[in-house]
């Protein structure tokens, strides 16, 4: 957690704004996002589809194709050295794969169908660590063993279509971790997998994370995965961070109505009494023309006049727990949160 003795900052994202140019104008996918990440830490970014979490993550590796996307504002400082947003493509190539690795959502499409597994793992090793083919092949076998694949010597000669989805995601993890990166970005790593396989992959990632002390950004909309892995959580809505804090803050003392909505829409087995799942009504705003006020106001049961007029600043609950909601303003009426301490739901 962030109260470690001498935490090394791996990543510092400041006021990041990313937009896409389209025929009808500019889609503001990320609208001023700031967060940081320390060595050995797991930060979860949660939110609905289209809230900008994947764009944020892929922008850190500069993987969003440009055009149509462009970084409008902000900085991403990696490893206290360079601002990612200003690096040349060549300098980025050196960082990608060696200092940052990425796991994608769908393991069925993330591997090249016409190249053997072994070659796909070895590629990064050859590029970044200057290994020759034999050394890289040896390392690939080690990596496969590390991610829990049996008979790795045989597997490296196989093609992706010969493996199951769970195995392919293990291979993706092996590729991402091959060069021992300082930062691993996992973009919905379990979404496309069966539930039982999901648990295995989470377990594997936890185990590897303890072993390697890699910092992880975990993008997901699955709060169960968050509770399992992350120490800190960032909740995104319509391209902005609406709430951030430790896992305990978010699960036991959430402050933003959107976070309440998210928590209510997740099935939980640990609750004392059964509660119905409550979906959040409505849909997120169109990011062509984001609303003047709070983006969530249109769907928020507690919305006030101010919410429609002015976007709230971040209010500090504690020094690491912040939420952007007018309800935290001293003038606002007191609202009893529908989800509360100990995860109990007041229905």
């Amino acid at each position: 957690m962030s109260e470690k003795k001498q935490p090394t900052k791996i990543l510092d994202v400041k006021d990041l704004k990313v937009s896409f140019k389209t025929y009808a104008g500019e889609i503001q996918a990320v609208r001023g996002v700031s967060f940081d990440l320390y060595k050995g830490e797991v930060l979860a970014i949660v939110g609905e589809s289209g809230c900008g979490k994947s764009v944020t993550a892929q922008t850190i590796m500069r993987l969003v194709p440009s055009p149509p996307s462009f970084i409008k504002e902000g900085s991403i400082t990696f490893d206290n050295k360079s601002d990612i947003t200003k690096l040349s493509e060549r300098a980025m190539e050196k960082i990608r794969g060696s200092e940052m690795g990425m796991i994608f959502q769908d393991p069925m499409t993330s591997l090249n169908p016409t190249m053997t597994i072994g070659k796909q793992i070895a590629e990064g090793l050859i590029k970044h660590q200057g290994l020759n083919k034999e050394q890289a092949a040896e390392r690939s076998v080690e990596m496969l063993r590390l991610v829990g694949i049996s008979n790795p010597e045989g597997r490296i000669k196989q093609y992706p279509h010969e493996l199951s989805g769970g195995m392919r995601q293990r291979i993706m993890i092996a590729i991402a971790l091959a060069c021992s990166p300082k930062l691993l970005i996992a973009d919905e790593p379990t979404t496309a997998l069966d539930v039982t396989i999901q648990a295995q992959i989470i377990e594997l990632m936890q185990k590897l994370q303890e072993k390697t002390e890699t910092a992880i950004i975990l993008i997901t909309h699955d709060l169960g995965v968050v509770a399992d892995m992350a120490q800190r959580v960032v909740v995104m809505y319509a391209g902005k961070i609406v709430e951030e804090g430790s896992v305990d803050d978010i699960f036991y003392n959430p402050k933003h109505p959107y976070t309440w909505g998210l928590l209510k829409s997740v099935p939980r087995l640990d609750l004392e009494h059964k509660s119905d799942l409550v979906p959040i009504p409505g849909t997120p705003p169109d990011l062509f023309a984001p609303p003047k006020g709070c983006a969530f106001a249109a769907r928020c049961p507690y919305a006030m006049d101010i919410c429609l007029q002015q976007d709230p600043d971040k209010f500090e609950v504690t020094n690491q727990h912040k939420a952007a909601c007018w309800l935290l303003h001293p003038d606002a009426p007191a609202v009893e949160p529908p989800v509360g301490k100990g995860g109990k739901v007041h229905a």
Binding site: M61, L63, E89, R90, E93, K94, I95, R96, G97, S98, M100, G101, M102, F104, D106, T109, S110, L111, N112, P113, T114, M115, Q120, E123, G124, K127, H128, Y159, H161, E162, M172, I175, A176
Partner: protein, 310 residues
Amino acid sequence: MLKFVIRRLISMIITLFLITTVTFFLMMNLPGDPFGEMSQKMSAAQRAVLYQQYGLDKPMFQQYLQYMGNVLKGDLGVSFQYPNTSVNEKIAQSFPASLELGLWALLIAVVIGLLLGIIAALNHNRGLDYAAMFTAVVGVSIPSMVLGPLLSYYVGVKLGWFPPGLWDTPKHRVLPAIALGFSTVAILARLMRTSMLDVLNQDYIKTAKAKGLSQTSTVIKHTIRNAILPVITVLGPIFVNVITGTLIVEQIFSVPGLGKHFVQSIQTKDITMIGGLTIFYSAILVVVIFLTDILYGLVDPRIRLAKGRK
């Protein structure tokens, strides 16, 4: 894979059998006398001898069996017009020129077409893309029957850069090969571009980039390799196009190839020649398509390693 090969092989044999059968009956039922004007100058006795010589006096079914038997042995019969020339001789004599012409055209088309497609896709929606694709669409709109005469006259006669016709030296190959390959360049360029764009949108390209591979090695190792696969499947039909195109291009440039003879035999209604050459051409085309299918299977591990059906 083996099952795949066998299935394709069987359908190839059926196709060839059907083509030969259809060709035979169409030939035999052609209106008019098979010997044309020649026949009118002959006496009834002479004609009978001639009919007997060609086996035309026997019942149709027997003729059919005999013809099929001969075709199986590789004998395509004797010309009705020139009783001294067999179809096989004609093929042996003039097919090499046609084949060479076709291969040159194919080579030009594949090399330039793929390059154009790759360049266009890598510059998607930018100037080079529009330029390459406009060139390609213009290319499709200028078929060899148009381009051939234009090249022969303007480049061959007026500018004098290359011989406007005939087939003697390497220089003679240039204009016919360009005329024949040009529209194929366009087809391949468009296909390769689409296929490249498709692959560039795949997740595994993002994976490759996330590994830190450079643009160049992502393109060469991951994109082109995969993008070329669907292009291989059309090489068969493309070859068919090129070979049928020789019928026209050989006319225009007076290339002494088989296509020219085919057209001549059509114009003189030399029935056995037409039938024999149709079967010969069909066989080549069907075999080439079969081979490209197999090639595709070999290149794509998803098919190569598939066990069981499809």
